[in-house]
């Protein structure tokens, strides 16, 4: 039995990891006014953030079409018996619906399973990586799907933002609305709760924020996978990863960039950590 794993670009996994673990990554669409690009295929992360800051048009994003997924299913069906699709939270994007619709349209022999992870960024990426490893080790579709469903509750992402400006503009502010309108400046720290952006706390400075991220990771007794992400500040991500090496082997910490789709809402100064807790049960 050959199982193929599919995710979307919001998992933030690097192309190196995707190639190494045989993961197919379907791009979502990024739009600046009339111009539409496929995330990470037709627009680089650097270009995207530069335009986010300088363009008058606020970017919007659109899920992949059902056909995008259908094409992938048809292509993978030639070499696979089973396909597992793990998408970002359906509360943030219609990507999951597209993947589901494509499943309905798919006429091949191959079995397709689509899961709404309720996660995004490396919180999703780490789950995908863990599942890809288990598939490489011989897990079948049911086992892999079961693993995803159990792993999503062990996956946590926390983001330090410089400003709530972009989140408010993009309208994806979720329950973080309460953080708006403060008379004092602060850096919001957000998390993803039940698939939605949710406030965690507030810090007054970037340094206090990075400390918070470090302490957040330190709070987990056992870590299976760890990721640090940034948008335009690779040095800062590198420094945080270095600091985190006292908790988890440095060479196993994934460093990645926050996908434009999320980046549009969190802004170019985002710094984030994602933790996949070890399964101790």
């Amino acid at each position: 039995m050959t199982v193929k794993l599919v995710t979307d670009t919001l998992s933030d996994i690097t192309s190196d990891i995707a190639d190494e673990l045989g993961i197919t990554v379907v791009p979502v669409y990024v739009r600046f006014g009339e111009e539409v690009y496929r995330d990470r295929v037709e627009i680089t992360t650097e270009d995207f953030y530069r335009r986010l800051v300088h363009d008058a048009a606020f970017p919007s994003t659109t899920q992949p079409t059902p056909k995008d997924f259908l094409d992938v299913y048809n292509r993978l069906a030639k070499e696979a018996d089973e396909i597992l699709v793990v998408n970002l939270s359906s509360k943030l994007s219609g990507t999951y619906q597209s993947a589901m619709q494509a499943k309905d349209m798919f006429e091949g022999e191959c079995r397709v399973e689509v899961i709404d992870s309720q996660l995004v960024i490396m919180g999703l990426g780490l789950v995908v990586i863990a599942v890809a490893r288990s598939i490489q080790a011989g897990a079948n579709l049911d086992e892999a799907a079961d693993l995803v469903r159990r792993a999503v509750t062990r996956s946590h992402s926390v983001m330090l933002l410089d400003t709530l400006k972009y989140l408010a503009k993009g309208g994806r502010i979720g329950k973080a609305t309460n953080l708006l309108g403060s008379l004092l400046s602060f850096k919001p720290i957000l998390t993803l709760k039940d698939g939605e952006v949710s406030p965690m706390t507030r810090v007054r400075s970037r340094a206090a924020g990075t400390d918070y991220l470090f302490n957040y990771v330190a709070g987990f007794p056992q870590i299976e996978e760890l990721a640090v992400e940034h948008a335009m500040t690779p040095d800062e991500a590198e420094a945080l990863a270095e600091h985190l090496s006292s908790l988890f082997p440095r060479e196993q910490i994934h460093i990645s960039t926050v996908s434009p789709v999320i980046g549009a809402y969190v802004g170019p100064q985002v710094l984030s950590v994602s933790v996949l807790e070890a399964d101790t049960k």
Binding site: G171, L180, G181, L183, F186, K193, S198, M200, T201, S205
Partner: protein
């Protein structure tokens, strides 16, 4: 042949039908607007021809017949204005559209005896102005004009809390304005061909960046009481005179709207005694679609919704502060209630207890923000069934860092711990005037001289504020500090405060300096060093 006008109307109607209920944050405005839209579109399909004028007239008629609620009636007047603006037109140009929108705004304003800014009227006016500006700028592309008007509508909605205090107090944007924005946005999205996207997404509620003012719980919308009954109906008769009817009803209640023509008039009024209105109306003609609803019940529902808006419904933070600026600071950072009090005006245990009892949450954290109030606050937990923790903040800066560190994901006890721990991360400077001459800590102090306190200890005296502040700052290791926040008092000039900020910035360029009007009595400056 279909004109651009009809296809726009027909297509947008599908879109509008697809919106189940507008997710607006108050009462039933969304439902009312949706029902009004439904009636509008039903009539549009029955239009005698497909000319822009014909369809717009039909929509205006449908809207008036089906208008529900305050917002629905205003919406119907917007369509009436649109119909007037497009009168006799087979299809329309960009200029026609801009003019018709202008007419909509005019008619909508005229319909109300007492137009209030910060409502959908304002949104309509701003929208129309944006369309006019586009046309004046030489733009003749309907889609891009609509884009500009939708943006203007969005900005206008976000601005409504600035114009209307009840919105500001409640921390919401105007629901009617939001509804109007959603309709316009829906039309635009359809024109752009985003139907697939729209099927999967819900319209977004605009978020205002305006600070929530901290209002005591019972003060939410308090200015609108008594609520009474929302009374609305359609009056049919002969030779009806809407203007006369409006005048007669003006004294009978609030939010009066009277619109229509000599055969059909729609009336909406908030009144304590609907009987009077009904008796008056039955003399003039026959009443239809009569609806009388108790608004106190609606208000209760609204308060329930407010609770759901809180990120953690189970813990409330109550802060003590004096001065409107400081009250706003605590309110904007999420304090549920700010109890007035501070130096020389300590609140009583009863004041604090009352604040605890009247808050929505069963778990309450109190920030006394003054060393003389800590003890008072500590009496509260034994007097109530609610779970109360006092985080013993002795200064305003301590209160602010404690509130900032509130963790939305943590439980009650953990939060109290986190907040207590945060206190050590801040130094507090207070500058006030000596009430008498004395000698303290080796300092010779004359009456009325500015004196400086560091974390409650008197450490500096001088002749001018800035000098005292500099003396205190010299006692702090500023190399480790990152942020200095200056709250200046009620009797302090903002220009002087800015100068203080500038002088600190000059000496310590690495620091981030914020100058905020605290409006506190007695203390010319309260400064937080983090």
């Amino acid at each position: 042949m279909f004109s651009a006008a009809t296809s726009w109307l027909e297509k947008s109607s599908e879109e509008i039908d697809a919106l189940n209920v507008f997710p607006v944050p108050d009462g039933d405005t969304g439902t009312n607007m949706l029902l009004t839209m439904r009636s509008t579109m039903e009539e549009a399909y029955r239009a005698p021809d497909h000319s822009a004028s014909g369809v717009a007239q039909a929509m205006a008629k449908g809207a008036l017949m089906g208008a529900r609620g305050n917002s629905g009636v205003i919406l119907s007047q917007i369509y009436r204005g649109l119909a007037q603006g497009l009168q006799g037109k087979e299809s329309f140009t960009a200029t026609d559209l801009a003019n018709a929108l202008q007419q909509s705004a005019l008619v909508a304003y005229k319909a109300l005896s007492n137009p209030v800014e910060g409502t959908m009227l304002t949104v309509m006016k701003d929208t129309a102005a944006a369309a006019q500006a586009q046309v004046a700028g030489g733009n003749d592309d309907i889609i891009s004009i609509l884009e500009a008007t939708v943006n203007a509508a969005g900005d206008s909605v976000a601005n409504t809390p600035r114009l209307l205090k009840v919105l500001k107090d409640a921390g919401v944007v105007d629901a009617g304005g939001q509804g109007l924005y959603t309709i316009l946005e829906g039309a635009l999205r359809y024109l752009r061909g985003e139907t697939e996207l729209m099927r999967l997404r819900k319209p977004q509620i605009i978020v205002s960046e305006l600070p929530h003012t901290a209002s005591l719980p019972q003060a939410v919308g308090a200015e609108e009481i008594p609520y009474g009954y929302c009374t609305e109906f359609m009056l049919k008769g002969e030779k009806l005179e809407p203007d006369d009817i409006r005048k007669k009803l003006e004294k009978k209640g609030e939010s009066l709207i009277v619109v229509g023509d000599d055969s059909t008039v729609r009336i909406h009024i908030h009144t304590i005694d609907p009987g009077v209105v009904v008796r008056f109306a039955t003399k003039l003609g026959t009443m239809h679609q009569v609806s009388i609803r108790n608004m106190d019940e609606q208000h209760q529902d609204f308060l329930e919704m407010q609770k759901e808006k809180m990120p953690t419904a189970d813990t409330a933070v109550i802060a003590v502060a004096a001065g409107d600026g400081l009250t706003d600071v605590f309110g904007s950072l999420g304090a549920a209630t700010v109890v007035p009090g501070g130096q020389t005006m300590n609140p009583s245990t009863k004041d604090l207890l009352q604040a605890v009892e009247s808050t929505f949450a069963d778990k309450v954290i109190i920030l006394p923000n003054n060393k003389n109030i800590v003890l008072t606050a500590e009496q509260v937990p034994s007097l109530t069934k609610k779970k109360v923790e006092v985080v013993p903040t002795k200064t305003i800066p301590q209160g602010v860092v404690a509130l900032l560190s509130f963790d939305y994901e943590a439980d009650f006890n953990t939060n109290a711990q986190i907040m207590k721990k945060a206190l050590s991360s801040v130094r507090s400077i207070e500058v006030t005037r000596a009430v008498r001459s004395t000698k303290v800590n080796g300092l010779k102090i004359k009456r009325k001289q500015p004196i400086g306190l560091l974390d409650g200890d008197l450490v500096a005296v001088g002749d001018i504020n800035i000098d005292v502040i500099n003396q205190v700052l010299a006692k702090i290791d500023l190399d480790k500090a990152e942020i200095v926040t200056i709250y200046y008092g009620a009797d302090t000039e903002s220009a002087e405060a800015e100068q203080v900020g500038a002088s600190i910035r000059e000496q310590h360029p690495q620091l981030q300096i914020e100058v905020i009007r605290g409006g506190q009595p007695h203390y010319s400056y309260i400064i937080s060093i983090e």
